[in-house]
Symmetry: C2
Subunit: 150 residues, 2 copies
DNA sequence: CAATTTTTATTGCAAATGCAACATAAATGA
DNA sequence: TCATTTATGTTGCATTTGCAATAAAAATTG
C-alpha cells in the first residue's frame, strides 16, 4: 500500500502557509481566505455547510466568519423562511479581494501541476476527488462522535 | 487547468482532524503525532529538519517538540560534534505509542485509497510526490521572505 | 584570521483552533 | 399535537500556531 497521506499533508500545509503569508497584504488573517472564496462563489451559503465543505470545526468556522464580518469582507443575512440560519454574502470589499485570492490560488495550482502532462493532471484530479469522497464519510462520522474500528 | 488544491486541502484537514481526535486516547494533543512518528522513524533527526519535512513553522515545531519532551514521549540529546543542534529520540513511552499511530495512519491511508486499483494507487502516489516536490520549493522560498511573482 | 552570513533554537505576543457546553429553531415521530 | 431529536449557531476555556525578535554556534567569505 502506497503512502499518500504524508504527501497530501505536506502539500496542504505548504500551500496554506504560502497563502496565509501572501494574503496578509489584503488584511486577511490565517485561514480566512478559505471561507471568503467560497462565500464569493456561493453567495447565500450558510455557515454549517461551509464548515462541512472546508472540513473544519463548526466553532472555528463560526469565529472565522464572525471576523470576516467585523472586518467588512462579508455580511450575514436572515433567511425569510428559516430563522435558524444566516446566509452569507460578500460585501463590495469582499468582492474586491476575491480576484486576488483566485489569482493566487490559480498560481499555486499551476505551480503544483508543473511538469505534469494534460492526462496526468486530469488523472490526479479525478483520483483526488475519489480520495476526498472516501475520506469525508469518515470525517463526518468521527466528528459526530462515532468510533472507527480498525 | 484542473483545481486540485481544494481537494488536497479538504483531504488533509479531514484526516488530520480524525487523527487528532483518535490520538487523544494516547494523550497526544493536536498535531503531536506528526512529529512523534517521524522521530521514531528517524531517531536523531533535528528540529529544523523536522519542521522542513512536515512543512510547519520552525517555532511551531519547537514548541510541539518541547511538549513531547515534557510529556515524556521523546528526549533531546546533545550532539558531540555540533553544540548548536539537539538530536531527537523517542523514549520507551514514545516507542510504545508509535505502533498505534502507525496503525491509525495506515488505516486512514487504506480508507483514502478505497476503490482505487493497484495502478491508480501507484499513479496517485507518484503524481503527489511530484506535486509535493513542486510545491516545497515555493514554500521554502516564501518562508525565507521571498516574494512570488504572478 | 576576523567579519559577515547562515543555521539552529528559543521566547513574547497575538491570534486561530477546537472540544464542551449551551441555546434555539426546525424536523420528526408517536 | 407535543415530545423528542436533529440542525444550526454561539461562547468559555485551553491549547496550538506563527510572525518578530533574540541568541548563539557554525559556516562562509574576504
Amino acid at each position: 500500500m502506497r503512502e499518500i497521506l504524508r504527501e497530501i499533508g505536506m502539500i496542504a500545509r505548504a500551500l496554506d502557509s504560502i497563502s496565509n503569508i501572501e494574503f496578509k497584504e489584503y488584511d486577511l488573517t490565517k485561514g480566512q481566505y478559505l471561507y471568503l472564496v467560497r462565500i464569493c462563489e456561493q453567495p447565500g451559503i450558510i455557515q454549517e455547510k461551509l464548515a462541512e465543505m472546508i472540513k473544519v470545526d463548526r466553532t472555528t468556522a463560526s469565529r472565522a466568519i464572525q471576523k470576516l464580518e467585523t472586518s467588512g469582507f462579508i455580511e450575514k443575512r436572515e433567511d425569510l423562511h428559516n430563522k435558524k440560519v444566516k446566509k452569507l454574502f460578500p460585501t463590495a470589499k469582499g468582492e474586491q479581494v476575491y480576484p486576488f485570492i483566485k489569482r493566487e490560488n490559480d498560481y499555486s495550482n499551476s505551480v503544483a501541476l508543473e511538469g505534469l502532462s494534460e492526462e496526468e493532471t486530469e488523472m490526479i484530479h479525478e483520483l483526488l476527488r475519489k480520495v476526498r469522497h472516501n475520506v469525508e464519510k469518515d470525517w463526518e462520522s468521527v466528528k459526530k462522535g462515532h468510533k472507527r474500528n480498525y
